[in-house]
């Protein structure tokens, strides 16, 4: 069967993620899924914009009080870089270089974890310094839901990539797992794109007032 076949870098097809019908289906289906996810995040962004700075009384912190650029800049750099390293991983996947793919995926995971650490620190900071919580105001609910959904996606993506790396560590690449790696990296890019919007809509606009 084609999916169990052993390959060399010469016989490895040009687009291994779409070399089988199953791979083609997954590729297309996952793009559709990301289309749905886009609408999901669009809805969360709309809610956030509607409820931004919407607090019950004047002693609550607003966006311009909360956000500072340095930390968010660091987080953005971490996530953008992790997107780049996942591109490197897919480059090596397409060249049938399993070891290098695993290495770059590992770096991607490390960067993702660093991003997550910053996010947890950030949330703790808002809670301790400003009393800004999920239940303190509609603004808080909308903020933590939007950014938290993104963070949840990061956690899911990290779990997914780690599971794939561990599962396939000993058997290398074939046409059955190539689409899986490819889709995980596609998901990771999507998370990155959402973050670009969060950076702009939540943080930049928040700081600008």
């Amino acid at each position: 069967m084609a999916t169990e076949q052993k390959f060399t870098s010469q016989t490895w097809p040009a687009n291994p993620e779409q070399a089988t019908l199953e791979g083609k289906n997954k590729f297309l289906g996952f793009w559709f899924f990301l289309g749905g996810e886009t609408v999901l995040f669009a809805s969360l962004f709309a809610t956030y914009l509607a409820l931004k700075d919407s607090v019950p009384s004047t002693d609550h912190a607003l966006a311009k009080d909360l956000f500072t650029l340095p930390l968010v800049f660091l987080m953005t750099m971490l996530l953008l870089t992790s997107s780049l390293t996942s591109v490197f991983a897919m480059y090596h996947m397409k060249n049938y270089n399993f070891k290098k793919m695993q290495q770059w995926l590992f770096i991607t995971v490390v960067l993702g974890l660093a991003f997550l650490g910053c996010e947890i620190y950030e949330f703790m900071h808002y809670y301790k310094e400003f009393g800004h919580t999920f239940t303190s105001s509609a603004f808080g609910s909308a903020f933590y839901t939007l950014v938290g959904f993104h963070g949840g996606h990061v956690i899911f993506g990290l779990g997914w990539m780690i599971a794939l790396m561990v599962r396939n560590a000993k058997r290398g690449l074939n046409l059955y797992n190539a689409p899986k790696f490819y889709l995980a990296s596609l998901y990771w890019h999507f998370i990155d794109v959402v973050w670009v919007f969060i950076f702009t809509v939540v943080y930049l606009i928040g700081i600008a007032g």
Partner: protein, 625 residues
């Protein structure tokens, strides 16, 4: 490896296990039909209780609070748990056969979609036994539902969330199936209309369900986790729910009606024995309705106070939908025109659908005029309107489609005489029930009221309406008797039982082999099977030699994943009461779901092959029969 052994005798337990683990689109279709049919009966009983309560003034057949629960559950059940799953049953049973595919693109996800829907529906209906059902209407507007006591609304939120995930997966699955799995020669513009409408409805599902997901999450957070999205005291805004609900809710009605249009577009040419008039304009109209369906949600909110500019824009967009719908109506009429019409039961449903649906459409355009809508809003006029489009459109399609596609799903034919009796009762009852409600509404009877006073001119109308509901119930009971008789007699029919089948699903032997097509067919035109018949051939020309067929393995994981969310939903709901066991239950439930996902991810599932020799043996057996 042997698969033909599946067809030999087996016990009840084996059959149960087979259906719990099946990934075959034909069996999943039967599961959808049974579950959707069950919820249709539940919703029907709720409707009967509503009509009994409203039959006479000052009635107290049910209490006011219980009445609110029943009317909420009637709407929610009928839309989410009856109409959509029943359409999914036909999509699953027929669409892959219509495009000449051996299965859907993601058989595993197909099963997962069903079990998510099933557990979501089960969870929602368990509310009856666990402290009361939701009572804020099927729209569950936030300002009302946040104030609702008990767990009713929580059941609504969590149940719909779970079943919504299932629907979304079903939608993605159908999209990919139609794009990637078509047989050789099946170009887009040769696809049968039911496949086209499934395609567009699936695209609508993909883009309409995420806003509902977000709205349900926010409602869940507000009710169970103390957030303030809709709570004005915390700075929230209750209109956000209305927007998201209708950004989902309006496309939802097209998700229901487009496949119904598709079913009629199959029935009408078949029994007019004439190709569908204006095929390409039908396709164009379907796409256009799907597109415009996203542009009109605020016509449900004319009285919310969005302002004259917003109301005007949404009013015009709404009226515009009448144009592609009108194109469809004329195309159906012109298909029948000059045809050699056979008045079978499916055709009766199809023909009666045309005027019924037009009446619902006309009142729709009336409501699209925003100033007039201020008068119609929340009155029985609205109730009459949406029952005319949903019952007169979707339900007539479901009943017609049930008779039409029964042979494909079960290999037998429903009795035509009983079918006509049930049609006569249902159709008369439908108009008797809902036509008069237009006038009740115009006379000022508000929607969702528990009872009304005598001497306001509402008695006769309500009594007539309730009698009509009784007729519809008799129609459904006759249908059930028909199904029972057909199943007991179990007279198997051969290929193309209606004799006039036009599309690929009629070209294969009945009951459909579990691999669908031994050889993929070569499609040489629109109405592929009809094209071959007109050339004097008995069957399709194969596009490939007999070869090994790859099949997916059965899996229990979809059931487990859905069960996990079902368990987690209880934890989510009761942690708001500070019950000690709730958080552990939530964690266990999520652990089951994510554990099953991890298992699915790391365990290879390569499927199996049916070997050429076994297929050739089958051919011999068929010829000897």
């Amino acid at each position: 490896m042997s698969t033909i052994a599946h067809k030999t005798k087996r016990g009840v337990a084996r059959t149960m296990w087979e259906y719990l683990t099946t990934v075959d689109h034909k069996k999943i279709a039967i599961l959808y039909l049974i579950a959707g049919g069950f919820f249709f009966l539940v919703g029907g009983v709720e409707a009967m209780i509503i009509r009994i309560q409203l039959a006479v003034p000052n009635n107290d057949f049910v209490s006011a609070g219980l009445y609110n629960e029943i009317l909420t559950m009637h709407g929610t059940t009928m839309i989410f748990l009856a109409a959509m799953p029943l359409l999914f049953a036909f999509m699953n049973a027929v669409m892959p056969l219509q495009i000449g595919a051996r299965d859907v693109a993601f058989p595993f996800i197909n099963a997962l979609g069903f079990w998510l829907f099933f557990f979501g529906g089960l969870f929602l209906n368990l509310s009856w036994f666990l402290g009361g059902a939701p009572d804020a209407g099927w729209t569950s507007y936030a300002s009302l539902s946040l104030a609702s006591e008990g767990h009713g609304i929580d059941f609504y939120v969590l149940g719909l969330q779970i079943s919504g995930f299932g629907t979304l997966m079903g939608g993605i699955n159908f999209l990919v199936t139609i794009i990637n799995m078509r047989a050789p020669g099946m170009t887009y513009m040769r696809m049968p209309l039911f496949t086209w409408t499934t395609f567009i409805a699936s695209a609508l599902i993909l883009f309409a369900f995420p806003p509902l997901t977000v709205a349900l999450f926010m409602m869940m957070f507000d009710r169970m986790f103390g957030s303030g999205f809709f709570d004005v005291a915390m700075g929230g805004n209750t209109v956000i729910w209305e927007h998201f609900f209708w950004i989902f809710g309006h496309p939802e009605v097209y998700i229901l009606i487009l496949p119904a249009f598709g079913i009629f577009s199959e029935i009408i040419p078949t029994f007019s024995r004439k190709r569908l008039f204006g095929y390409s304009s039908m396709v164009f109209a379907t796409v256009l309705i799907g597109f415009l369906g996203f542009m009109v949600w605020a016509h449900h909110m004319f009285t919310t106070g969005l302002g004259p500019v917003a109301n005007a824009i949404f009013a015009v967009a709404t009226m515009a939908i009448a144009v592609p719908t009108g194109i469809k109506i004329f195309n159906w009429i012109l298909t029948i025109w000059g045809g050699s019409v056979k008045f079978t039961v499916p055709m009766l449903y199809a023909i009666s659908f045309i005027p019924s649906f037009v009446m619902g459409g006309v009142t729709g355009v009336m409501q699209a005029a925003a100033p007039a809508d201020y008068q119609f809003h929340d009155s029985y006029f609205i109730v009459a309107h949406f029952h005319y489009v949903i019952v007169g459109g979707v339900v007539l399609a479901l009943l017609g489609g049930l008779h039409f596609y029964w042979p494909i799903m079960f290999g037998t034919m429903l009795n035509e005489k009983l079918g006509k009796v049930s049609f006569a009762f249902f159709f008369t009852g439908f108009h008797l029930t809902f036509f008069i409600q237009h006038f009740l509404g115009l006379m000022g009877m508000p929607r969702r009221v528990w009872t009304f006073f005598p001497g306001q001119g509402l008695e006769t109308g309500n009594l007539v309406s309730s009698i009509g509901a009784g007729f519809m119930a008799v129609g459904v009971i006759v249908l059930l008797i028909n199904i029972l008789i057909t199943m007991v007699r179990n007279v198997q029919v051969g290929r193309d039982p209606w004799k006039d089948g036009r599309t690929l699903e009629w070209s294969i032997p009945l009951p459909v082999p579990f691999y669908n097509f031994k050889q993929l067919p070569l499609v040489r035109g629109l109405d592929a099977f009809w094209v071959e018949k007109m050339k004097g051939k008995a069957g399709m020309t194969p596009a490939e030699p007999v070869g090994d067929i790859h099949m997916p393995n059965n899996a229990f994981t979809p059931f487990l994943m859905s069960l996990g969310l079902f368990i987690a939903a209880f934890g989510t709901m009761y942690q708001a009461d500070d019950k000690e066991w709730a958080i552990p239950v939530l964690i266990i439930g999520l652990a089951i779901t994510f554990g099953a996902m991890l298992y699915r991810s790391v365990k290879d599932d390569l499927g199996y092959h049916i070997h050429k020799e076994e297929l050739l043996d089958e051919t011999d057996k068929e010829e000897n029969r």
